[in-house]
Symmetry: C2
Subunit: 493 residues, 2 copies
């Protein structure tokens, strides 16, 4: 097996230069054009003296420019840290420091947050707005003609059940195999066109970009999700595939009213956690071809997807592991579960991350003998279809964003007047779930809910800030002091 | 990059057990059924005490049983030597001895040739008819759950320009990447169905079998090529893709008369050497979607194929190297050729063989730094499209001018009374070599040598016009209908 593949963008531009690669705000860009623009930016980036293998953070919105910058970085062999646009300055500092990033490329509109980045902590960090980057002179570059599949392409941070966010290493091989595995399941048609309205800084968004180039299909890029714009793109712009999470799909179905999608629309790829049965049934009635899928940052997007012929008969299942993937359910005793027996979902495949950046221990704990212990709970039916019951027991998924209770708890615990803190997700009609905090104050402390919420707003991206704080005398913990979030959920009900 | 993938048949049977894998003589076999049958044969083969890594020769016809035997051998991790059904006993002995085969599985109908195999030379060789194999008791096996991509799956012997046949090593990775590369070019649709009417013992046939399992599509298997049966399969049996060589396509088009193919028929994959321009033009008129392709045993099928949008504008080109493949033209001085400059076609990619079985020197000579020197002649146009002129061994050099037999053949085939044509170079005192034509006339055609020479003179530069035309009842072609110019040379002598 070869360890290198041709640079996917260079190869694609050579194979089908004139096909439309990207549509954004009414503009169309051919693969040749995307390549030319990306090479131009690689030449401009060269002036920043980046070396192959350096880490570069990008704080960029969904925009054609971002596509060119991301591919430009690949042409230089630079590793890209995709920063969530909603992070606070403190959160950004943590990720940039943890990854030892040489440079941060950002949009001018994020000036306010970049200004607050602590320059003392990040003495070596170069910061440059994309607008300034585009003004740099072009220099000679040795553009990468091949990618080594073992090399890191991107890093995306996720928080675990405990502690600080960890940088998930995504290699060129991870992205490549993910695209191939998806294609073997969903097929590939001439004229396919994928709507990208989720953020680039999530694997769901970035993976569409890579698939587009590998498949040679058009990506329709939206700045952000809007149900009317999404429905318009499907109905009027010949979009054939779209990636969504439940909250997006609910809005689209509502907006659609009595209309239906054209026959060429062939796949609504639904990820981001278990979908409400009512939504799936509504879609079945409206003949919207929903493909439930299960994946995560660590698997470079989908690892389990429901094959077309089972989309109705196995409603609610995430499907079977993709062609190159393997999956087991492990019970608490470490044995392989019997059909219908619940346990931890454990996966293996060439799309699975090699580990976390500079986190040897966490990597060893989560990845054993090539198997990733996802922390998610589910079971297999008698035919081997996966049903995901719960994400990491405590993971909160709010409007498609992953929120880790431990991260919010650690912020609350950092407050001088807080003695103990717990966070759970509670159901919400609009967002799917929202975080709610439980706090035990130190004796004689006089803070109220608003004080704590204001405090959180300074430390946490807005979507992570609890929507409510409930004060308790004591939190339910087991003998080894582990927080029993299940009991908090019972209490909340 | 992982070095293993799941066993493709096991995985496919798990993913889509009920889809139709195979149609043969009116019978349909699901993927589950193919798996069950193959496992049964693996259990029966176990009684022959084959070890993983052993070589086993198969002398089998296109038949459902052959599919089960081939996959059964893979379940055991045994390496399969696919023996050409037309070989003489002497030729079989050579290949079985060269590969140190432990066992030969053959059809009872080949009894006569197997009886003539020299048992003294092959003292250790076990021979068993498939009919006897199917009577063996089943034994417990440890079926292979994963394939190591580096491991050899199959061996096919090819004759080079000189000397004895060489065993081309085809790894699981070669077959896997070949299937993926083809899919990235041709796409993959629900309902795709590939007609297999070329022999399994040629890579063109075997590769369809592997693609079928990886893609999860139906393979319609014919015992041998017949233009009426092939047209029927396309028109009545929902075949969407078919692999052909020129002579097959000529017959199909003739038989088709004024009929046309249904819209779902989307790809006539045309390999096996340069195609006559008249044939391509006829197909264009009839709206038959011809995809010219270039490949060989050493590249596990296609390595260059014409993308859909260029099938007409680049008529006659074999296309561009597939997504994972690279290609160069090397001039006689060893430099990379300029556009339109003729030279040797040199290719690289994960579908390219690691070498020839037990032939270190030949391997080193043909494969240098990962690049395979094909011995074939061609050029790239200014956009990087490959035009294959001829196989190097067939090149005729006359008075310092290069003459490509295929070019003359295509002219002869353009004559209304000519059914088949072949051209070779024969030694000549004055010119070094001169071209000689061999022609099969259509029944009741009344043309003579002079008529044909006059026709050629109108179409070809003088030095390319055959110095002689010899009329035959039939041209020597191998089982995949490839012209055997070597035999014409023998005949001429």
């Amino acid at each position: 097996m070869e360890e290198t593949i041709p640079n996917w963008l260079t190869k694609r531009a050579h194979l089908t230069p004139d096909r439309i690669a990207l549509k954004f705000k009414g503009e169309e860009y051919s693969f040749q054009c995307v390549y030319d623009q990306s090479l131009k930016i690689a030449r401009q980036l060269k002036g920043l003296h980046l070396k192959e293998g350096d880490f570069v953070g990008v704080l960029l919105k969904n925009h054609a420019d971002t596509v060119f910058i991301l591919f430009g970085l690949q042409l230089l062999g630079v590793k890209t840290i995709l920063l969530n646009n909603r992070l606070t300055a403190d959160e950004l500092v943590y990720q940039l420091k943890d990854s030892k990033a040489k440079c941060l490329i950002y949009e001018q509109s994020f000036d306010f947050v970049v200004k607050n980045i602590n320059k003392q902590i990040l003495a070596d960090l170069m910061t440059i707005s994309k607008e300034a980057l585009f003004g740099l002179e072009e220099q000679e570059v040795n553009a990468k003609e091949e990618f080594c599949l073992e090399n890191v392409c991107t890093v995306m941070y996720t928080s675990g059940t405990t502690g600080r966010p960890k940088g998930v290493l995504q290699t060129y091989g991870n992205h490549w195999w993910s695209a191939i595995g998806s294609m073997l399941n969903l097929g590939l048609r001439e004229g396919d066109c994928w709507l990208l309205s989720v953020p680039f800084f999530h694997i769901s968004g970035f993976s569409i970009l890579i698939r587009g180039v590998i498949y040679g299909i058009t990506v329709v890029l939206h700045e952000s999700f809007d149900e009317k714009a999404a429905n318009d793109a499907i109905i009027h712009d010949r979009v054939t595939i779209m990636s969504v999470v439940s909250t997006m799909l609910v809005k689209m179905v509502d907006h659609l009213k009595d209309q239906s999608y054209p026959a060429y629309f062939r796949c609504m790829l639904l990820g981001g956690g278990p979908a409400p049965r009512t939504l799936l049934e509504t879609c079945a009635k409206k003949q919207i071809p929903v493909f439930q899928t299960y994946g995560m940052t660590e698997t470079a997007s989908q690892i389990v997807t429901l094959a077309p012929e089972y989309s109705l008969s196995k409603l609610g299942s995430a499907g079977k592991p993709l062609f190159l993937a393997q999956l087991k359910i492990k019970t608490v005793t470490g044995n392989e579960a019997a059909p219908y027996e619940t346990g931890e979902i454990v996966v293996k495949g060439p799309n699975v991350t090699k580990g976390y950046l500079n986190k040897m221990n966490e990597t060893k704990e989560k990845i054993q003998a090539g198997w990733l212990y996802t922390g998610d709970i589910g079971y297999l039916d008698h035919e081997g279809f996966l049903f995901v019951l719960d994400r990491r027991s405590d993971l909160i998924i709010s409007g498609g964003e992953n929120i880790y209770p431990a991260e919010i708890e650690s912020v609350l615990l950092g407050h001088a007047k807080v003695d103990d803190a717990g966070v759970i997700g509670v159901d919400d009609v609009k967002w799917g779930q929202i975080p709610v905090g439980f706090v035990v104050l130190k004796s004689n402390a006089n803070v109220n809910e608003n004080d704590l919420l204001e405090y959180c707003q300074k430390k946490l991206a807005k979507y992570k800030v609890p929507k409510k704080i409930i004060f308790l005398q004591q939190l339910p913990r087991n003998a080894s002091r582990k927080l029993l979030r299940r009991k908090l959920r019972d209490y909340y009900r």
